[in-house]
Symmetry: D2
Subunit: 137 residues, 4 copies
């Protein structure tokens, strides 16, 4: 992390009042933290729009009794082997599993991996969280 810069900005007074109320409700310790949060989200969105190297998490929901599904999930990951950092598995109930795969790499590749996992026979749901490697924030 880097040094801190102090800047001044001008805002409409009633907008500022509403933003302060919202930030307090959301639990931000200071106005600077609340604005930093908005700026971070905006920069992460831009990283994905620009197709840069990003990080993400792919969340899968499936019934592990489905024939061959574990094998197929691993196979697809190996097709994109350099993207996957690690994964975590939770037993939601007797049938349903959640698997969380942490990935880092070129945006298009991550989207293809997500698409490949979505299309595995028997997959119930597959969501991609778009976040950042943190390097630029």
């Amino acid at each position: 992390m880097s040094s801190i810069t102090r800047i001044s900005i001008s805002l409409a007074s009633d907008v500022l009042e509403k933003f302060d109320a919202l930030s307090k409700e959301q639990g931000f310790p200071t106005r600077s933290e609340a604005i930093t949060h908005l700026i971070h989200s905006s920069l992460v969105q831009q990283q994905w729009a620009d197709g840069k190297v990003v990080a993400g998490a792919i969340t899968l929901i499936y019934d592990h009794h489905k024939s061959q599904i574990l094998q197929k999930i691993v196979d697809v990951q190996h097709d994109f082997g350099n993207l996957v950092i690690c994964s975590q598995h939770a037993h939601l109930d007797r049938h349903n599993c959640m698997e969380n795969i942490i990935v880092r790499g070129e945006m298009r590749q991550i989207q293809k991996l997500h698409q490949g996992l979505s299309a595995v026979k028997g997959m119930k749901h597959a969501v991609l969280s778009m976040t950042t490697t943190g390097k630029d924030l």
Copy 2:
């Protein structure tokens, strides 16, 4: 609009540098305008999450040759008559029309109107833009 307040905030220097570059690329005249834009978006999102009185636009794409479709679109609007302010119609080609319906009212009601229009037989696409009456910004 109200008076203007000048505030100071502290940001990590490298984040500020990246945000300034992005804001310039996006065409914001000043840093204050760029941050105001983020705050406005955040407040509008909150208005929708809280189910407040909001404004929106519903965009429909359909083939006007589809039997009875114009009649049905008008009928659904009349079921929610107090929501609709006005609407606009554009001929995209010989078959396809876009219709834009400007609405204002309680969030849940607007979502129901959007759902009702989405379900009209022959509707190709129906999108809801979530925005604000502007009163609180």
Copy 3:
């Protein structure tokens, strides 16, 4: 519009039951209409991801008393003149206007126009609805 094809698909019985209940609640007249709706949304999303020629609506909220804002909104539109088909204006209250601009063209250009309008000094909110020219649906 084209001819109709009848296809058979296999679904888990309990998923089908839940989908039928949801479709009924959403007002779809038939199961075919409800599934067509999902397919249309998926195809439109793909058109935008592929950067094809698409249609959209840009919804602006602003206070028309803001100095020069009407002029600037028109100026930005003229920079992308071939995208704009028509626009519609509603008076939400004494201060606030909603403007709805119907656009058609290459996806990246539409996003740039939306960005340009978002950055106009005094703009309260600017949303882009992503839809289709209807030709491919």
Copy 4:
């Protein structure tokens, strides 16, 4: 999982052709799988809109050198102790960590936990993946 039902639906032939092409490109083994995928997404979206018991994953990006950040992240989780199933931690580089928290519970509670983690001082990014416990799919 339950028994399988075979149903027939009617689709515009040209839409079907485009959908088949897209499904093939996305890697779905059959038309039934591709349509099931759309139905699942629609049902999960509805579960979240209805505020039901759902599952999710919260992905955090932060610099673990930030004073007290690990302690605060754990504290917030304990405030919502019954939601968290487990969590996973990956070292993205010398400074940046990704943490993935698997949660299950009432939708509003999950959103509050996400909000609380977003507001922790020093948090770079916090995303919520909305998925399902799998029971209803």
